[in-house]
Amino acid sequence: MDRFEWGNGNLLQGETQVKQQHGVRLHDGTDKTAFDRGIITLTSHRLIWTDSVQQTTLVTLPLSLVLYAEEVPAGRGKSPRVAFHLHPAPPNKPPGPVMMSAHSYIQLSFKEGGETEFFRCLSEELSRRRWEYMPTPKAAGKPKAIHAGIVGIERNLEKKWRDTDENISQAFEDLNKLMKKAKEMVDLSRTIANKIKDKQGSITEDETVQFKSYLLSLGIANPVTRETHGTGTKYHEELAKQLSDVLTKPIEESGGMMALSDVYCRINRARGMELLSPDDLVDACRQFEALRLPLRLRVFNSGVMVIELVSKGEEAIIRQTAELLNEKKTLSPDELSQSTGISILLAKGRLLAAEEAGQACRDESVEGIRFFPNLFLNPPTR
């Protein structure tokens, strides 16, 4: 009952009356009070009790203090009631009829009925919470800092920038940590390599070699990145040089030619953190010839791109393929791939290259494509 305050019968700004009911008594908890036979008014913001005789006696309860309400059905000699469970009163509450109360709930008893309809309207108002849009002075609490005018707008913008900035640096913090760790990993592998060098004797030769090859395939000590070498041609040139350093040996081992997809996987595994984009890789590969590096990017007519050794040039490969064709009389890409140990894609590429050079001709049938020595251009002597 101590949540009630004295009122003057005027509605607040934005407040609208919802429901009114005569013959209502207020109870503090379950105890009867002197506020009997009054008019209860439900508004969008408050509950107002008015004495039906002395219209100036008026107490109000803000709906914002209502935790929840429940209907209490009529009992023996008792009118039907609605109970309000309340929040504690705010400290700066204006004075009311009761200063202290042991109960945290009140009841309204409806001597003249209408409790069901009243309860329905009340529940609706409680769920709509219209009082929040136009807070009553006591609910407003401490005054809000309002920055009007240009200064306010500027301050707001500045705050937003600060927030964004903070978010971004938080997001990148993890990445930086990761990079630091990567550097540590590279350092670690280097120390291991050095230790191996020192203890050459104690580990068997085989193991050393094997471990070294692991390390080599693990990483490039100082990868060329956009950060270290800028953008554009310069970057791609440096990248091309590094690619040729790293790739020459594996390509030699795999028969002088490697599909670009394999190259991409290999190089990115070696780089570890500073990954290359496919576009950058292709652009770098295009620089091979201009830089007179021992590698060359080659595009087969099928669109397949390979990196090949310059020394093992196209003509040599075509000649080799043609010789094999003459020897075997006929070859399918599959057979060539098996006999030379290259991928089917590459084998087909070689055969197509031979065809392009007029060294082979094709036979397409239900069994697939096969290649023959080009007897059209070099007819058999009879």
Binding site: C361, D363, S365, F376, L377, R382
Partner: protein, 175 residues
């Protein structure tokens, strides 16, 4: 009649796949043109139905189980058309006339025979020319009517012959 001598390419599987390499394709198509003409000449066939030809031994080698696709057949026939060896008889390009010699060449052949036999200034029927006893050993023996007429018309233009018609049959007079 001696059996037809197939060229070596006929046993070569790639012969039945149109080659993508231009240089190779040129040789291949040329070989096909020669084969088509030689085949028709040997069997004295003067027309070709594209649909039927797909199953004829000309384009279908059952021994090595290869046959030429319709597209390839058309590109070979197109090459022959450019060279003047075939002529489409309809717009849908379903059938064509095959001329392993041009009408001019045929005309010259016929005229040489006529003047050789002293047939100038005499009239002989077209049937006599193509199916008569006197021409049995000549190459133009068995020549189709349309081609014979076309050959004679070229002679007419050179004022070496004149085609006349008497009722249902036609004849020619050599000068």
């Amino acid at each position: 009649m001696a059996s037809f001598q197939w060229p070596w390419q006929y046993e070569f599987p790639p012969f039945f796949t149109l080659q993508p390499n231009l240089e190779t394709k040129k040789k291949q198509v040329a070989a096909w043109c020669d084969l088509v003409l030689a085949y028709h000449k040997h069997h004295k066939i003067f027309n070709l139905d594209v649909k039927e030809s797909q199953s004829s031994p000309l384009f279908n080698n059952t021994k090595i189980d290869r046959k030429l696709s319709t597209d390839a057949i058309y590109s070979i026939l197109e090459e022959l058309r450019v060279k003047g060896n075939i002529e489409w008889t309809d717009k849908t390009r379903a059938q064509c006339l095959v001329m392993w010699r041009t009408p001019e060449e045929w005309g010259n052949l016929i005229y040489r025979w006529a003047s050789g036999c002293g047939m100038t200034n005499t009239v002989c029927t077209l049937y006599e020319l193509a199916h008569g006893d006197d021409t049995k050993r000549e190459e133009f023996f068995g020549l189709d009517d349309w081609l014979l007429k076309r050959a004679l018309r070229t002679l007419e233009k050179q004022r070496k012959a004149e085609i006349m018609s008497f009722g249902t049959s036609e004849g020619v007079k050599f000068f």
